[in-house]
Amino acid sequence: MGLHRVSIFLESTPALMSVVGHAPPPFFKRGPAPLVRLAFFVSLSLILLVADLRFHTLEWARLGVATVAWPLQRITWMPIDAAGDVGGYLARQSTLLKENEELRRRQLGTANLLLRQQHLEQENVRLRALLDMRARLPVEGRIAEILYAARDPFSRRVIIDKGIQHGISAGQAVVDDVGIIGQVVRVFPLTAEVLLLTDKDQAIPVEVQRNGLRAILAGAGAGMMELRFLAANAEVQVGDILVTSGLDGVYLPGLPVAKVVKIDRDSAYSFARITCAPLAGVERHGLALVLGGRIALPPQPDDMPSIAEQPARGKRVKKKAH
């Protein structure tokens, strides 16, 4: 107990004993009180949170730290890479044979389309010239490997092995052999982050392939997506294929995105709840194709009268009192 009392005495003695030229013994130097330090660091973190969330001003810091930490990250992938190699080595021959056969069959199935594609494209160019429409430019792609899923459990992101060095920039669409899987949101020198379609922050303009109905598809988490803001009586059926409409200028039109799996038309709400499942292997790993950026859409005409000035249709225009 005696020792305990001494320690209390020592703690309660302030560092007042420091005479000029006499530094206090080092065990008196405690710095600010813990609560003060806590308040300081918590407020600093909150400032960072707001700065990143609201103003997106910290991307340069992130880029710098990520570049410095790149070799370390490469080292930490070694165990996973090794495990993958061992797993690949142990893969059954029958699995490989089956996969090979499946791929050959699919190639034959699409050969017909591929052989005629060039012909169709030229025909398309001629028809578009006849119709005096803007030519649809071919978009080149760059093959990238999906390295791993980001560790952050709150969002759906994957890291691919191409970055600024390979000409990738934020905003490019990423597809696999079936359809769209996401969009590049952040680029580092040698890697890039792809936000998957199923993330809650991701939205993509689509149209129903069957009838051309336009809508916005947004991630709903848990590997699903939701078709938002469609009226309860909208012409959508279970099994409909949704393709990109290309209205946003990011995604090429006509790429398959998702399939409608469930429609909940509750008359209590004005919108139907339409659940969709992604067509591409969004949650799978493997190779992906990063499509080149599209040309900017023509600027919106600004000589049009703004909507606010026009009287809304169906409403009576109030006459000005004289």
Binding site: P34, S45, L49, T76, Y148, K200
Partner: protein, 173 residues
């Protein structure tokens, strides 16, 4: 009756480079891309809590803040999310340090479990306020793994401080 310290061994003073090394190794362990595998502990939080409990004067909220920033970048998460959670964890662990070391290791782990869970709750609150999705209940499994690992980690990190067996009978301790 006063409970005794479980290890009852007199430890050598800790070396600063060893603390830095262990925190760095924990950071490396956290960088291993396990994806969404549940139950992988947050190694940085575990080692940080350990040093905050054992050496509250050397490792504190400043270290927690810097490590949190590093994790924010590595995790591609919101800037400040890990920093905030780690700072709160370091504060709580340092507050616990006077008391918790008198208990046997299993009970220490039980007392640290709420800290780890609280840290995860803080992270979840910050992310869900910013509109992210719920990561699922299984995500909280990593706190329980961290608490289970408290026992082996204590022995592992105290190895350099264990006084070598001294046969000299004339020494007082």
């Amino acid at each position: 009756m006063q409970p005794t310290h479980a290890s009852r061994r007199i430890l050598l003073p800790v070396r600063n480079w060893f603390i830095v090394l262990t925190l760095f190794l924990a950071l490396l362990l956290n960088l291993i891309p396990f994806g969404r595998l549940p139950g992988i502990p947050d190694w940085v939080a575990l080692v940080l809590a350990f040093w905050c409990v054992h050496q509250p004067l050397k490792v504190g909220m400043a270290a927690a803040f810097v490590l949190g920033l590093a994790m924010d970048v590595a995790d591609a998460s919101l800037m400040g999310q890990h920093a905030l959670a780690y700072v709160l964890l370091a504060f709580a662990a340092a507050g616990l340090s006077r008391r918790v070391l008198w208990f046997p290791l299993s009970q220490q782990a039980l007392q640290l479990l709420p800290l780890f869970l609280g840290m995860q709750l803080v992270m979840m609150a910050t992310r869900m306020l910013s509109g992210a999705e719920f990561p699922g209940v299984l995500w909280f499994l990593s706190s329980f793994t961290a608490a289970l690992l408290w026992h082996p980690v204590t022995y592992l990190l105290l190895i350099p401080q264990f006084r070598p067996e001294d046969k000299d009978v004339h020494r007082p301790i």
